[in-house]
């Protein structure tokens, strides 16, 4: 079975650079103050794993976290 990948945002680190929302709009959205949140429960749908990793790699604050298992 496929392992479940999840994304989360460390809200104490996020400063609203918005890079995650731009590279993976399927996974993240910005709130009214411009800080990012994951859509729903943060489970990454099949096929979007690469975009989730790109969001991690592009966040200047190291605020996007991935877990799998």
């Amino acid at each position: 079975m496929r392992k479940v990948m999840r994304v989360a945002i460390a809200t104490d680190r996020c400063q609203g650079h918005n890079r995650c929302c731009l590279v993976a709009p399927e996974l993240f959205e910005a709130d009214d103050e411009g800080n990012a949140h994951v859509h729903g429960d943060g489970i990454v749908p099949a096929g979007l794993e690469a975009k989730a990793r790109l969001a991690v790699a592009n966040c200047p604050e190291q605020a996007v976290r991935l877990t799998s298992g």
Binding site: Q15, G16, R19, L22, A30, E33, G34, L54, P60
Partner: protein, 396 residues
């Protein structure tokens, strides 16, 4: 800037107004990063420091206990402390002063300005028309953000020359001539005072009205707070963006393979813009040391002025592979052109939108252009770097 003694050893006598730095700072930074990662200089009051490594820049930007934002420009002679919240604020005052501004700059609000920005770019391109040459800086890049910010402030878009003059006196001339900076700030305050009076009588959908209605701890903002923030928004939102737009167009004028690739595949625009922001980061900030701290073996003494170079961090090869190459499809690019930590640029969504629109509209109108042979692009001096004049030839 007046003539200055030439720099011989950049490690102990750096000067970000030296012509070598203005011409091409990247080689200097690479050399320093290897042999002396924290350079110093006595050309600035109480001594100045300049860190070139990504890790040190991150530390300084995120450590308000040792590095205060109360001075955000390195000057030969320090000015009296200036109140421009949130950029000049430290914790705990910083967070509330920033938070009240965030909604006006969130992606949703900025998206509403895109049509106006496109219209501004198109009218400038119309004015260039079918002339075979133009100044990509003066005729295009420099004209865009002043008009957008005037639109946001609800003032006439014809105020461009006035705004540009204030900014020049504060950021460039004012580094060695404090009276020039103070005079420009007084003129700005008088201008904005009048706008605040007008908006109190007749509110509109603009930033001045937004600040009049904003609250801090349940109370309206004081007049000095409103004026300080308006001054900041104008200074922060103008030559940073024109420098970003200008550098992007300059890169495409001097790298035909990237230009052709972007014209053929506009889907690359988002990664290209982030890469231009990384490689040609316009904005260098500053801090004042308030408590001694050692970084990369170098002690920072209280009172010293710190040149906080996000542009140098973005060229650090230990963080960015092939840091000196511009790769318009660079997929992993956590650049820090908009800073790091609590002072992350509040206008980053606006800046990114304007840069994207400006490059997109330019390429649609002028897909084939290059730097005019025999003429030279000149670069602005000091802490905001971008083309000051950029002679271009347009092929049709």
């Amino acid at each position: 800037m007046e003539s200055r003694p030439p720099v011989e050893d950049w490690a102990i006598d750096f000067d970000h107004f030296d012509p070598q730095w203005t011409e091409n700072p990247y080689l200097l930074w690479n050399d320093l990063r290897q042999r002396c990662p924290v350079a110093t200089s006595q050309r600035f009051q109480d001594g100045a420091y300049f860190a070139t490594r990504y890790d040190d820049v991150r530390e300084i930007a995120c450590d308000a206990e040792h590095f205060s934002s109360r001075r955000v420009i390195v000057r030969e002679r320090k000015l009296p402390l200036i109140f421009s919240p949130p950029i000049t604020s430290d914790p705990p005052e910083h967070k509330p002063a920033r938070k009240l501004l965030l909604p006006a700059f969130a992606p949703k609000e900025i998206a509403k300005l895109e049509d106006r920005a496109r219209a501004i770019c198109r009218s400038l391109l119309d004015a260039i028309g079918d002339s075979p040459t133009c100044d990509g800086a003066g005729d295009y890049a420099r004209q865009i953000p002043v008009r957008v910010i005037a639109h946001m402030l609800g003032v006439s878009e014809d105020n461009g020359d006035l705004f540009r003059d204030w900014i020049y006196r504060i950021l460039s001339e004012g580094v060695s001539n404090p009276a020039a900076a103070m005079g420009a700030m007084q003129e700005q305050d008088a201008f904005f005072k009048e706008q605040v009076e007008l908006r109190r009588k007749q509110p509109g959908d603009d930033l001045v009205s937004f600040l009049i209605n904003a609250e801090l701890d349940g109370k309206p903002l004081s007049e000095p707070h409103i004026l300080g923030t308006l001054r900041l928004l104008m200074i922060a939102g103008i030559d940073s963006i024109w420098s970003g737009i200008g550098s992007s167009i300059w890169h495409l004028a001097t790298h035909p393979e990237d230009r052709k690739r972007l014209v053929a595949d506009p889907g690359l625009l988002p990664t290209a813009i982030e890469e231009f922001l990384r490689a040609y980061s316009p904005v260098t900030m500053a801090r004042e040391v308030v408590k001694e701290k050692t970084l990369s073996g170098c002690p920072f003494q209280p009172g010293g002025q710190v040149l906080l170079s996000f542009p140098a961090a973005n060229r650090d090869p230990s963080k960015f592979a092939e840091a000196d190459r511009v790769l318009i499809d660079r997929a992993e690019n956590p650049h820090v052109a908009f800073g790091l930590g609590r002072h992350r640029c509040l206008g980053s969504n606006l800046a990114r939108m304007e840069m994207t629109v400006a490059v997109d509209e330019w390429l649609k109108r002028f897909p084939d252009f290059h730097e005019t042979p025999g003429k030279k692009t000149t670069w602005s001096e000091g802490t905001v770097r971008g083309p000051r004049s950029m002679p271009l030839t347009i092929n049709r």
